[in-house]
Amino acid sequence: MPQWPGSSFSTKYKLYGDMVFKIAMVHLGNKDDAEEIMQEAFYKLLFKSPTFNNDGHEKAWLIKVTVNLCRDTLRSVWHKRVIKMEEIDNYYDDPADFNILKEIISLPMKYKSVIYLFYFEDYSIKQIAQILNSKESAIKMRLQRGRQLLKIELEGNENEQL
């Protein structure tokens, strides 16, 4: 019987709440769905997670769980889902920013995860491959395609990373 670790939730939420919310928003595009994903993700983290080696391990596990939950949600209701973009524009003053997010949200699922992890969480391709349990070559390909679709300008040594 799991005990309700209220303080644990608070601690974990402070650590990961922002990240889980962002992942869910980027993947699902609306706040209500994101909140449900957060609920499920934290439930799993608090009650169903394995023993973690370190904080990095825990974070990677939570990212994977969250991405999977988003994918399941999209799969299960994808045929009747209408992304409510009007909710998202509340987060932005500048319409250009809103448009950028709209483009990211419009990406196919597999590209979104990679774009988010690479550009926002600063994970390397190797790390992303481990988190998403994919081959590095597949991650590279997704990153390339995501870039092409978003028309992202390459900077610095990004080419070398690919």
Binding site: M1, P2, W4, G6, F9, S10, Y13, G17, D18, F21, K22, M25, V26, D32, A34, E35, E36, I37, M38, Q39, E40, F42, Y43, L46, F47, D72, T73, R75, S76, V77, W78, H79, K80, R81, V82, I83, Y91, Y92, D97, I100, L101, I104, S106, L107, P108, M109, Y111, Y116, Y119, F120, A138, M141, R145, Q148, L149, L150, I152, E153, E155, E158
Partner: protein, 446 residues
């Protein structure tokens, strides 16, 4: 757009201040639901219920008869939501035969019966098949989100309550009243009202709400519609209608695709055309055959039949590309598992395709195709009716047909139009691909 833009934009997505509190409460509730059996708690709950029931009974005894009738309203309302006519004529929909506009698509199944040929002819003659909606009980189960949605439940409760107030003590609506729509149709913020009226609902609007492909409707009565349904080879599974795929399948490799056995179809259309049999799992128009999931594919999209008779393989995909909303190309093309699974890509011009000449040319530059594929997944759906002229102006140089063969033995056929559109048979939607990518790819198809 650069990496800083992405960081800045995503960085602004932050949960509101109350999120932690709400989640904490929800998790508490979730945890409470998951608590193990406790006899004391059950006894206490039982006592509370018993006392409550006693109070209620006492209250009803003292209540005038009229009020007692009103107390029964919730039950009557639930009856009203499921009318006996199960949707009746309101749910009539037209569906378009898969092959109506593509008579030359290759048939992979060697055991196509003469019925199949007749069916195709009928299909062309009828062009549009009209059938009537049945009640599919399992539909709501299949399509409900995996995560709990208390808000929606609340909405339903409110709707019921409102309905009660409107209907008062009426149990069955009068014939001339607007009857509730059948539950076979998808419900999404009321949009299904449109879907029940049109072949393909609601074209692409400014906000890209997508195009809804209505669920294929099964016939209710043994009328001409039965014939219509017969010519569409289909299987009912978990509330979805799977139509026989016209896409290529290498029979020599079909065995490797056979997944878990889902069951055995229940024979003829006559069987499920009866009123009580609409919900019957694995009802079909393909006789009695074993049905399997397909390895590597989501079974909500694709299932298959497979059998060997005298060493001869008979296998067939059945795809469900109806009852769905298409927002981007990914919603359709993503299902075919094309990425990283390509064995070969070849193409032919319209002249060859239309006359079955099979003058294919191989596409050697798969890199360019992969770029095209990525753009295709991000393409925007457009109603077929809006671009009907593309079919009528069938110039030999304005179209190419791509024949994509996948490593698992399956295939996908795409029809490309010079204007930048892609069409896939059976979906009856055009997809507008990014012009730059499309033109680059098109120019390579010399």
């Amino acid at each position: 757009m650069n990496s800083f833009d992405i960081k800045r934009v995503i960085g602004k997505l932050e949960p509101d201040d109350d999120m932690e509190q709400r989640l904490s409460a929800k998790l508490n509730g979730k945890l409470a639901k998951g608590m193990p059996f406790k006899p004391i708690a059950v006894i206490a709950a039982g006592l509370i219920v018993a006392i409550g029931a006693g109070v209620l009974a006492n209250h009803q005894i003292e209540t005038p008869p009229k009020l007692a009738v009103q107390n029964n309203i919730p039950n009557s309302t639930s009856i009203a939501l499921l009318p006996d006519n199960k949707g009746g004529n309101q749910a009539e929909q037209k569906i378009q035969g898969n092959n109506a506009k593509n008579p030359n698509l290759p048939q992979t199944n060697n055991n196509q019966s003469s019925n199949q040929t007749n069916s195709q002819n009928n299909n062309q003659n009828n062009n549009q098949a009209e059938t009537i909606a049945p009640q599919t009980r399992s539909d709501s189960d299949v399509q409900s989100p995996s995560l709990p949605n208390t808000d929606k439940q609340n909405d339903n409760s409110k709707a019921l309550q409102q309905n009660n107030e409107t209907n008062n003590s009426k149990q069955i609506p009068a014939e001339n009243e607007t009857t509730p729509e059948p539950r076979t149709l998808l419900r999404d913020n009321g949009d299904n009202g449109v879907s029940s009226q049109n072949q393909i609902s609601q074209g692409l609007n400014q906000q890209n709400e997508g195009i809804f492909i209505p669920k294929v409707q099964l016939p209710v009565k043994a009328t001409d519609s039965v014939t219509t349904a017969k010519m569409m080879e289909l299987i009912v599974y978990q509330g979805r209608i799977y139509i026989r795929s016209t896409l290529p399948l290498d029979l020599n490799r079909a065995a490797a695709l056979v997944g878990e056995k889902l069951g055995t179809t229940k024979g003829t259309i006559t069987e499920w055309s009866q009123q009580n049999d609409y919900d019957e799992e694995l009802a079909s128009t393909v006789g009695i055959q074993d049905v399997y999931s397909v390895k590597g594919y989501d079974k909500s999209f694709r299932i298959m039949t497979y059998e060997q008779i005298n060493g001869e393989v008979n296998a067939q995909f059945f795809d469900c590309l109806n009852g769905i909303t298409v927002k981007t190309g990914h919603d359709i093309f993503g299902k075919f598992q094309i990425e990283n699974n390509i064995a070969s890509v070849r193409y032919e011009d319209f002249e060859s395709w239309n006359n079955g000449k099979n003058n294919f040319k191989s596409l050697s530059n798969l890199d360019q195709f992969n770029v095209f594929l990525a753009a295709l997944e991000n393409s925007v759906p457009v109603n077929e009716e809006d671009l009907d002229y593309l079919f009528s102006e069938q110039g030999t140089t304005d179209q190419r047909v791509l024949d994509i063969r996948l490593k698992d033995g399956s295939g996908v056929e795409l029809r490309l139009f010079k204007e930048g559109y892609v069409y896939i048979n059976g979906v009856n939607i055009f997809f507008k691909v990014d012009s730059l990518v499309f033109n680059n790819f098109w120019n390579g198809l010399v």
